[in-house]
């Protein structure tokens, strides 16, 4: 009887459960897998002066044979031939890695201070970290142009306090430095919040216990606090590193002509050169590059659990 009841209950909940589980997968298939295959298909096509500006266009099942025979991987071969693309990929990874390190160095103390603050003001502090989201991301990046440009606010401030002569100007705008400033500023909440979540639930008596056993506070940080916050460190780093690698807006608005990032290259191929197949190939390679850190992340999460 118990078995019958059990299977009956499962039958009832079954449809609902299937629906709940299927929904996110359906979402992923519609808005990730399907577009990815379209992009992938385009990346195997050739450019054409037409609308859309590529061939072949899929025309019925009868043409499948025909269609497949026209696909080739010459775009991928081209990507490896031209050092520009390899350089752009490497430069993107470098900028993302340095930015993530900077974000960790700046974000960790902030998150730690928030987690150690008295419980009554913590919600306010979290609110302050989220506050920038009230303004559009694009507007905030534009605001940095106003600050960093040669006759911008930073120059005015430094001249006003006398750190800079009236003729001098800050030469940061349109350099990699400006790109780093913009990235660190924009992504800081994404680093601070996972770190804060990891640090906030840490039991303070662990540090007291370490102290009690003869471990001075600074050493206790490295032996206890930091290892226990590693899941937060990894989550924050992944959440920042992955989108920074493909970042386009910040290097485009704040970076110089020599700031090489794959997002910018992709944009140029797509809109400047109208070479959709090559741009698609760039995107596919980028995705594959980023899947690796995601897999490391997933693996780490599994280990923690």
């Amino acid at each position: 009887m118990a078995v019958a009841q059990n299977s009956d209950g499962q039958g009832k909940g079954g449809l609902g459960r299937v629906f709940v589980v299927a929904l996110p997968y359906l979402w992923l298939v519609l808005f990730f897998v399907a577009p990815f295959f379209i992009i992938f298909k385009i990346s195997l096509s050739d450019t054409a002066i037409a609308l859309p500006p590529y061939t072949p266009v899929f025309e019925g099942f009868g043409a499948i044979q025909d269609f497949v025979s026209q696909l080739d991987i010459e775009n991928y071969i081209f990507l490896t031939d031209d050092p520009l693309y390899v350089k752009a990929y490497l430069s993107s990874l470098r900028i993302a890695a340095i930015s993530t390190m900077l974000l960790l160095l700046i974000g960790y103390p902030i998150a730690l201070a928030m987690a150690r603050a008295s419980a009554s003001i913590r919600p306010t502090l979290v609110m302050m970290v989220i506050l920038p989201f009230w303004t559009s991301f694009l507007i905030r990046v534009y605001a940095w142009i106003g600050i960093l440009k040669p006759d911008g606010l930073l120059t005015l401030l430094l001249q006003a306090v006398g750190l800079m002569g009236p003729e001098d100007q800050v030469q940061i705008f349109r350099t990699d430095t400006a790109v780093f400033i913009g990235i660190v500023y924009s992504y800081l909440p994404f680093m601070v919040l996972p770190l804060y979540a990891a640090l906030e639930k840490m039991d303070n008596t662990l540090l007291e216990a370490a102290n009690d056993l003869g471990c001075p506070p600074l050493k206790a940080f490295w032996r206890i606090t930091f290892p226990l916050s590693l899941p937060g460190v990894i989550a924050g780093s992944m959440i920042c590193f992955i989108p920074i690698t493909g970042e386009f807006v910040i290097p485009d608005l704040l970076g110089g002509a020599d700031t090489l990032m794959i997002g910018k290259t992709l944009w140029t191929e797509f809109f400047g050169n109208r070479d959709w197949p090559l741009a698609s190939a760039v995107a596919v390679i980028l995705l594959i590059l980023l899947v690796i850190p995601i897999m490391i992340f997933q693996n780490q999460q599994k280990k923690v659990a």
Binding site: D203, T205, E208, A209, A210, N211, D212, G214, R223
Partner: protein
């Protein structure tokens, strides 16, 4: 279940020796948190190798007192002497005390082994010595087979043992135990209490334990300090605390007791001398043989423990004992004991406990019976505070 017992405990009472030097001395300690006074001008001596309990309800300042000794808090006023040296300003990581935390505070990312070794590593001992000491400690708490487990793979009792092993590994001069057995079930708790006593005797360490569990304090301690609202009400051996509480508060906090408010009607001897004191408690007259601490007319409390009160259907023949008459109102059958709740003729309630020495299921005294409660002159207590 046969158990090997440790060495026979010998009588240990350095506090009665005026020449003994206290190992730990709290001297006029006051601790305030903002406007709240957690510990109020408290003075206390603890001797070497003593198993000392701080007992009191939550919020009485016992944990604060212990945390001041560990170095997590500094006293607002007064000083703490450890072996005669003032330890103000010495950080926790340089104090020769180790603490077993109420929550155990095991490091979740380290194995049992690593947890126990943590304190030893801080002292930069050679690797071989650390390994040997860890093994010895794990053997002591019977966890040799669990050395490579993480704390979340252990049961509550095992975690508690790891915490104990970790705090003992450095052989601290003083081991502080903050409600160490609170999370364990009764049976495991009792077993562990005896193990703690064995360990303390074998290693010859000074243990300071904070607890709100009076049974635990009674079982393990050489002496108990009963605390209330930041002050110590009484410091004495478990037997003294139980048999001769110095106040209504202590009498009521430790064990079960009948208390009646009354006035001293007659005293046989002078103040401070031993004699019979007669107390009138609203129509009930009781006599107590005790060292006299009150004068005629003083408001005092009369107290007697339920197990010292005899219950019987017959009026006592001996007129020298105290006797009151009443009706059995309720009976609590506890297995080893039965507690009779008796409503006296004037409406007051008294409790009498009787050991169930026979296997009779139907007790001779039952609900509604008219009974006499009697107790000898030396069974009761006069409480002046």
């Amino acid at each position: 279940m046969a158990k090997t017992l440790g060495p026979v405990k010998r009588k240990f009472s350095p506090w009665t020796d005026p020449s003994a030097v206290p190992f730990i001395r709290f001297e006029n300690i006051t601790k305030r948190f903002g406007t709240f006074t957690a510990v109020d001008n408290l003075t206390l001596d603890i001797y070497e190798r003593e198993f000392f309990s701080l007992l009191g309800p939550s919020g009485c300042g016992k944990t604060t007192l212990m945390r001041m000794l560990a170095g997590f808090e500094e006293p607002t006023e007064g000083r703490i002497l450890l072996q005669g040296k003032d330890i103000r300003g010495v950080p926790p990581y340089r104090r020769p005390t180790n603490m077993m935390f109420q929550s155990y505070a095991l490091f979740p990312h380290m194995t049992v082994e690593k947890n126990v070794a943590f304190g030893l590593e801080q002292d930069k001992l050679p690797k071989g010595e650390i390994a040997a000491r860890v093994e010895e400690m794990l053997k002591l708490v019977k966890l040799e087979d669990f050395a490579r487990r993480k704390p979340n793979q252990l049961s509550g009792g095992q975690r508690q043992r790891v915490a104990l092993a970790r705090s003992l590994a450095k052989r601290p001069q003083v081991l502080l135990l903050d409600e160490p057995l609170g999370a364990l079930d009764k049976k495991l708790r009792e077993e562990t209490q005896f193990e703690l006593m064995d360990i303390q005797t074998n290693l010859g360490l000074t243990f300071l334990i904070v607890t709100h569990d009076q049974e635990e304090a009674m079982t393990v301690s050489d002496r108990i300090a009963v605390m209330d609202k930041g002050v110590i009400v009484q410091v004495a051996t478990p037997a003294e605390i139980y048999e001769a509480p110095n106040s209504r508060y202590v009498a009521d906090f430790i064990g079960d007791i009948n208390i009646m408010e009354g006035t001293v009607a007659a005293t046989q001897s002078a103040l401070g001398a031993h004699g019979t004191i007669r107390i009138e408690c609203d129509g009930v007259s009781v006599s107590v043989d005790q060292e006299c601490q009150a004068a005629v007319g003083d408001k005092v409390a009369f107290a007697v423990r339920p197990e010292k009160v005899r219950i019987s259907p017959d009026k006592p023949v001996d007129s020298a004992v105290n006797a009151v008459h009443g009706e059995v109102w309720d009976i609590g059958y506890l297995g080893d004991f039965s507690v009779f709740i008796v409503k006296l003729d004037d409406g007051r309630v008294m409790r009498a406990a009787q050991a169930n020495v026979s296997r009779l299921v139907d007790r001779p005294i039952t609900f509604g019976d008219m009974v006499w409660l009697t107790w000898p002159l030396d069974a009761g207590l006069v409480l002046t505070r």
